[in-house]
């Protein structure tokens, strides 16, 4: 019901349009659930074990009422009823202490288990529409939740989630500077080991590990640097922060990605960036030097 209050703050016209649109989205989503041929036994649902459309929902009630609060409540009940794995439990323990924390936890839970499915995307978009204003209108409470997460969730297992928390902090009004500091801190402390160079005696499996980039620990500093560039004061601030990251990041792939992001952000400073990086030992092997 708290979400009904949030929505009531909008103008009447926007409110009606949002209801109609969201009801349509919810109806489509739930129609797909309904026609997925699932049992409605109410058996315990385990995220990730079943694809999203197979999960029973109280569909008829939602479709009949076709209003956001009803469908949102039902969706929230469904999410809260999902059983959790150990990673979910750590997320919940870190975040689920306040209304904003509950919203964030629900969305991360769905992201991790269903984020890449069309139905999951629809569900997340619906939740974003329902939660977004509440998050932005209570920036202090939202920021506290995000800081809780950054303090409690270890980089080793939550690299991408931590990136998303920093990115979300940057969207809160009045928290740009805090997001800048967090992203700078993250890209300095999230330092994955340098990947090895391919050797003749390496197996194909070892090559697969070295050449793949789907290990989140290598994406973490690149993500943090991206958010740093978005929140930094100006070119000089961006450049100095990038240098700090280059000094501690050992992996050449990460360093290349960071420098390329800086060049992409400041194309007019390309010559200056390359000239300054070439003058520093730490960056001699990047930017084609």
């Amino acid at each position: 019901m708290k979400n009904r209050v949030t929505f009531a703050r909008s103008s009447k016209k926007v409110f009606v349009l949002m209801i109609l649109f969201s009801a349509g989205v919810a109806a489509i989503t739930l129609h797909r659930f309904y026609h997925s041929g699932v049992s409605r036994s109410g058996a315990e649902r385990v995220p990730g074990e079943d694809s999203l459309p197979k999960i029973p929902l109280p569909v008829s009630k939602v479709v009949r009422n076709s209003t956001i609060p009803s469908s949102l409540t039902d969706v929230e009940i469904w999410i809260d009823g999902l059983s959790r794995d150990s990673k979910d439990n750590i997320l919940q323990a870190a975040l689920d202490h306040s209304p904003q924390g509950k919203m964030l936890f629900r969305m991360l839970l769905i992201s991790n288990h269903y984020g890449n499915s069309p139905q999951g995307e629809l569900l997340l978009e619906t939740l974003q529409k329902a939660y977004g204003n509440s998050f932005l209108e209570n920036p202090d409470a939202s920021a506290r939740v995000l800081e809780d997460g950054l303090r409690e969730l270890p980089i080793e297992n939550f690299a991408l989630e931590r990136g998303a928390l920093i990115g979300t902090l940057a969207t809160l009004p009045g928290y740009t500077e805090q997001a800048r500091e967090r992203s700078l801190d993250e890209m300095i402390h999230s330092t994955p080991p340098e990947r090895m160079v391919i050797r003749p005696d390496m197996s194909e499996e070892q090559k697969n590990i070295i050449l793949s980039t789907d290990d989140p620990s290598y994406q973490s500093p690149v993500l943090a640097h991206s958010y740093f560039l978005e929140t930094s004061h100006d070119f000089q601030d961006s450049f100095q922060g990038t240098l700090k990251a280059l000094e501690v990041q050992k992996d050449l792939g990460v360093r290349n990605a960071i420098v390329n992001q800086l060049l992409e952000k400041y194309p007019d400073h390309q010559n200056e960036i390359q000239a300054q990086l070439l003058g520093r030992t730490v960056a001699k092997d990047v930017t084609g030097a």
Partner: protein
Amino acid sequence: MIIQKFSKNVLVASVLSVGICQNVFAFCWGSGCLFYVPIYDQTSKTIPTNWFKDGVAAESQLCAPTAGAMAMQGLLQDLAHDNVHAAGWVLADISGKSMSQQIVDTATLMQTSPANGTGTNNLVNSFTARAGDYVYSFPVFGLQIPITHASTNSGAQVNLGTFQNIFKSGVTGMVTNYGHYTRVSAAISTPTLKQVTVSYSRNGGHVVTPRGYISNLIVFNDPEGGVLQFTELMTLTAKNSSNVSNGVHHVSIETLPGGQSTSSVYQLYQGGSYYPIIESMSALTAPFQN
């Protein structure tokens, strides 16, 4: 994606119609070069079954020696009319041998495992070491001078220009190794943010025998099934973006494969989430004689 299969006759006919002959088997003209390379099949039933994984031809891991044997035999034939002969290992194990014997001999040379295939370094080192095995014979003194030189490029060093420059520089035998990569996307949404990270997961690789180019198309023999293929060489560039839509911040970060990659890598073609990304290419090249 551009990938087409042509018969050898169609290929030769199309080249003859526009080509300037520089060698009986090797052609270069304004926008392309093509060389003769026989087409070998790594699953051929003429190969002894003990060279197949579990004895099953369809499970063949012989792409590297098959590609190498094709390149070495092709180079031998391309250079034959320039008074260039085989010597050393190529004379003993390629010249005059059957397709299956050439493949088996090359597999032995490259220390290929029937179950696990060939290490990239074994492929590159074994192949490039054959640079001394193509010799020019001086009729009067009986002297034999090695005529080819070897070159190897890896990862982001390989682009369309690399292929073009090598083929244009002389009669060429070439092998190219690419990895089988799958694009992996992970999305995390919060109330005000959608964060997408794109990465690439490698699962083994493959070796083919490029035999020329036509404009931006690479022409190669694929040992898997023994087919001639034309494919565009595409650039894969990291796509990063950040924008706000409907009050939600959308951020997308892409990390390219290779560990030490720069902002671009090169792929032979792309289908769905599959990306065959070039990891290395090695060539033996002899200068054009006329």
